[in-house]
Symmetry: C2
């Protein structure tokens, strides 16, 4: 029987309020799994996408196969590959669905090949999965999906990332309201230019956020996690956004914001108890909307990211 490996990569929260397009955080319990094995011939085939009927199976269109194709091109490897994909959460949620698949694909194929690349070197390959799925090779989801923890993408070309420390005790509360927001649409809502005074406040907050992580300063983290750039417009696409924010903060959230381009929202909390209170308050707030929701709580860890897992 030929070697067959499976890896998991987590959902991620991009932007983290203050760090539009440069910050991302890895979650733990929710994510995608990708299985890979060598196959006869030279083709890359996708034999199954569990929970992903809407996703392309053509090798040149699927993010997982594109990632592996780029990797084997770099290595001059032409051995055929068979891929199976398990989607652990819905695409279009704002939790980095294509990123989780791309990250798991890069990780698992690297393992199958006996690690020709470091984890950091996998990021640009996984970005190619983002390019085919979203139209832009962003790293703010794939970098934490591979590396785990909180990652600052200082520069995209060439890629330069900084893995930031995580506070002692930090829990994420995620809520996905099942409405459609396309990343491209959410991006079009953003202004091409912003006021210098606004930008100045935003980079002051990024500085405060990074300092808070290195000094385990919850108060500074909370004050710094403000979004003056995307939230004012994008929050209008999310029903009851301001109400959700208010109940999260009333129940002790350190921060509340839009995950990536939405519609998922997130809150951060210092303890699991607070996280549960916040989650209940957010779900209660949404009870009368008639909108189907998915919600979960995760401990945010410094480690984590893509890893080998059981098959499916």
């Amino acid at each position: 029987m030929s070697k067959k490996l499976c890896a998991f990569a987590p959902a991620t929260i991009a932007n983290l309020s203050c760090g539009f397009d440069i910050l991302g955080l890895a979650l733990n319990s929710v994510g995608d799994r990708v299985e890979v094995s060598f196959a006869e011939g030279t083709a890359i085939t996708i034999s199954e996408i569990v929970n992903g009927d809407n996703l392309p199976k053509a090798a040149e269109k699927n993010c997982c196969s594109v990632v592996m194709q780029k990797m084997r091109e770099r290595l001059g490897d032409t051995r055929g590959i068979n891929i199976r994909i398990y989607k652990g959460f819905q695409s279009g949620s704002g939790l980095g669905s294509s990123s989780a698949s791309s990250a798991a694909a890069a990780f698992v194929y690297n393992e199958l090949l006996d690690r020709p690349f470091t984890k950091e070197e996998l990021v640009p390959f996984a970005m190619e999965g983002e390019r085919v799925a979203c139209g832009a090779a962003h790293a703010d989801n794939v970098a934490p999906a591979i590396l785990g923890g909180i990652v600052l993408v200082r520069e995209h070309n060439p890629i330069d990332m900084v893995q930031l420390p995580v506070l002692d005790s930090l829990y994420g509360v995620l809520m996905f309201p099942n409405i459609k927001i396309k990343t491209a649409d959410a991006r079009q809502m953003l202004p091409e230019k912003i006021k210098l005074t606004t930008a100045t406040k935003q980079w002051a907050n990024v500085g405060g956020f990074v300092a808070a992580l290195y000094t385990n300063n919850y108060d500074l983290l909370s004050k710094s996690m403000q979004d003056l750039v995307a939230e004012p417009t994008r929050s209008q696409l999310i029903p009851k956004y301001q109400d959700l924010k208010k109940v999260a903060e009333t129940n002790g959230a350190l921060a509340f914001g839009i995950s990536g381009s939405g519609p998922s929202v997130f809150a951060l909390a210092k303890s699991e108890e607070l996280a549960k209170d916040i989650q209940k308050a957010m779900l209660d707030c949404y009870a009368d909307t008639g909108i189907e929701t998915m919600s979960f709580i995760d401990k945010i860890e410094s480690k984590g990211g893509a890893r080998l897992s059981a098959s499916f």
Copy 2:
């Protein structure tokens, strides 16, 4: 004989390339001294400004007296004060001249009063000195001038500062070309709005800069200290700016930029030897301009800032 105290506060580099309006760094050897003593009556008088014939002596117009007036108002103290000021460097240099005087004034008067305020609490008072001298109550010079080291001003109102760690070994090379640039003019050159893509790169760099300080990462510091906001326009006011930058970098500078709104420029270096090489190259570069220059090298320390000193 009535009590008489004197304090020194250093020149400062505001902005530090990547942190427009939010970052500042305290120098050590160059700065202003302010002496204070109680006087008969209730008036605040300035009896002498050494090297400052051009500066106002009227209590309501001088930054030092304004700072002390705000402090005694807060305390309900009406005792008369006499002030003497020693200007250690030229105003209009971009090295925080009014800030050094305002910081020394706040510090020394607090000592005379037996420390009713913490160092952090002195910053808003010193900002009032900036308001009267420059028209705006900025903190990016006065905060490091009082606290020392490298300071992030996360928020101005209410003031919220983060004192950042300094790398193990860091030297600043300063060069002041004696040409006139008014802060107000330099500020008017800036665009009211900037591209979101530019702003995103800038806050990525602020994040990288802060992470570099906490991890003693010289390479990351160097990569992060880019100025996409003020340098493109303000550098045009400084003769041979690009040449200076090139020779500084060729001689091993970690970073090169405009100090505050200029015309002073600064380079950072990892060792005193490199700092001397850089200084020589910068002065050589300027030799044919006919512009009078003042230059010095300082070790950048985590401590420092305003402190008691000998009188003058």
